[in-house]
Symmetry: C2
Subunit: 177 residues, 2 copies
C-alpha cells in the first residue's frame, strides 16, 4: 500500500510518500515541501499548491491520501491558511478518486512514537529510524507528512483487522477500513 | 461585467451571479445554494462543492469571482469548514483562469447598504431592491453571495475611476475606498 501524507500549510506544505503493509516497516518513496510566498495573492498560493499536489499524486499514484486534521485551537493567525491548505490537499486526493483520511496530530504522534504528546524532534527521530534513512528528513514539515503516511499504513491495517474480526464474529459492524 | 459571488460555507454555500457596470444597477443572472450533509465525509463534502462550483463557473462564464474573506473571529466551531469552503471557491475561480477577489463582510455591507454594520435583513432588502427582484432571494446565503457580486462590480468600477482620477491628477496614489 502506497500512501501520500500531507502536513498542510500555505507557506510550507509537507508531502511524504511511503509504501508498506500494516505491522511491517514502511519504505520511503519521496518527500518534499511545497512552498509559497506569504506576500503572494491568496488565489495564486492556493492554485499553485493545487497544481503541485495534483502533480505529486499523478507521479506517485498512491492508494490513499492522509491529511493532518486542522483544529481551531492552533495559532489563530495561521489557522485559516492551514485550513485552506488542508482543503486543497483533501481535494487533490478526492479529485484523483482516492480515499482520503484525516488524522489528528496526536493520532499521528501515537502511531509513530507511542505517545500522543511527542514533540517534533521525537517525530523526526522516529520517522528517520522507521524509514531507515541516513539523515533526518528536512524540514520538519516533511517529517510530519511522512509520519502521517506511516500512520495511515499502520492504522489502516489495524482497522482492516478489526473489520475482519468483526465480520468473523458474525457480521457486527466493524471499523471503517 | 459578469461576477460570480460566493458566500462560502460547507453546509450551505451561497452563489450569486450578477451582471453590471460600475455606478449602474446590476441585473440578476442566477443564484443558488450548494448544500452538503454535515454528517457526510469531509472529503466528499469538499469534492461535491468543488464539482458544483466548477459547473456553475462553466455555465455562467463570469469575468471574475468574488469570495467572502473568512476571519478567525467567526464562530470557532464553524470557521474551519468556512475556511475550507472558501479555499474551494477561490480554487474554482483560479482554476478557470479568472481573477479572484476576496472582500470582508463589512466591505460588502458598506458597498450595498452604505453601512459596514448592516444586518442580514438590510443586506437582503438592498439586494432585492438593487436587482429589482419581486421577492427576496432565499435563503440569506444566496442574498449574501449576490451582495458580494454587486460589491465587486461596483468596487471594481470605483477602483478604476479612482485610478484614472489619480493618474489625471498627476499620478498621485488613489484611495482604495
Amino acid at each position: 500500500m502506497r500512501v501520500l501524507g500531507v502536513d498542510p500549510g500555505l507557506t510550507r506544505c509537507g508531502v511524504g510518500v511511503v509504501e508498506g503493509v500494516p505491522g511491517r516497516a514502511c519504505t520511503l518513496v519521496d518527500y518534499t515541501v511545497v512552498r509559497s510566498d506569504p506576500d503572494a495573492d491568496l488565489a495564486d498560493r492556493l492554485f499553485n499548491l493545487d497544481v503541485a499536489l495534483a502533480e505529486l499524486v499523478a507521479r506517485h499514484r498512491p492508494d490513499a491520501v492522509a491529511v493532518e486534521r486542522v483544529f481551531s485551537q492552533h495559532n489563530v493567525r495561521t489557522v485559516m491558511g492551514t485550513a485552506q491548505a488542508s482543503a486543497v490537499a483533501i481535494l487533490a486526493g478526492a479529485r484523483a478518486g482516492l480515499p482520503v483520511q484525516t488524522y489528528t496530530p496526536s493520532e499521528v504522534k501515537a502511531a509513530v512514537t507511542g505517545s500522543g504528546t511527542a514533540d517534533k524532534a521525537q517525530i523526526t527521530a522516529m520517522v528517520t529510524r522507521l524509514l531507515k534513512l541516513d539523515a533526518p528528513p528536512r524540514p520538519a514539515d516533511a517529517a510530519d507528512a511522512l509520519a502521517l503516511a506511516i500512520c495511515h499504513v499502520w492504522r489502516g491495517g489495524t482497522r482492516s483487522k478489526l473489520a475482519a474480526a468483526a465480520a468473523a464474529a458474525g457480521g457486527r459492524r466493524g471499523g471503517q477500513r
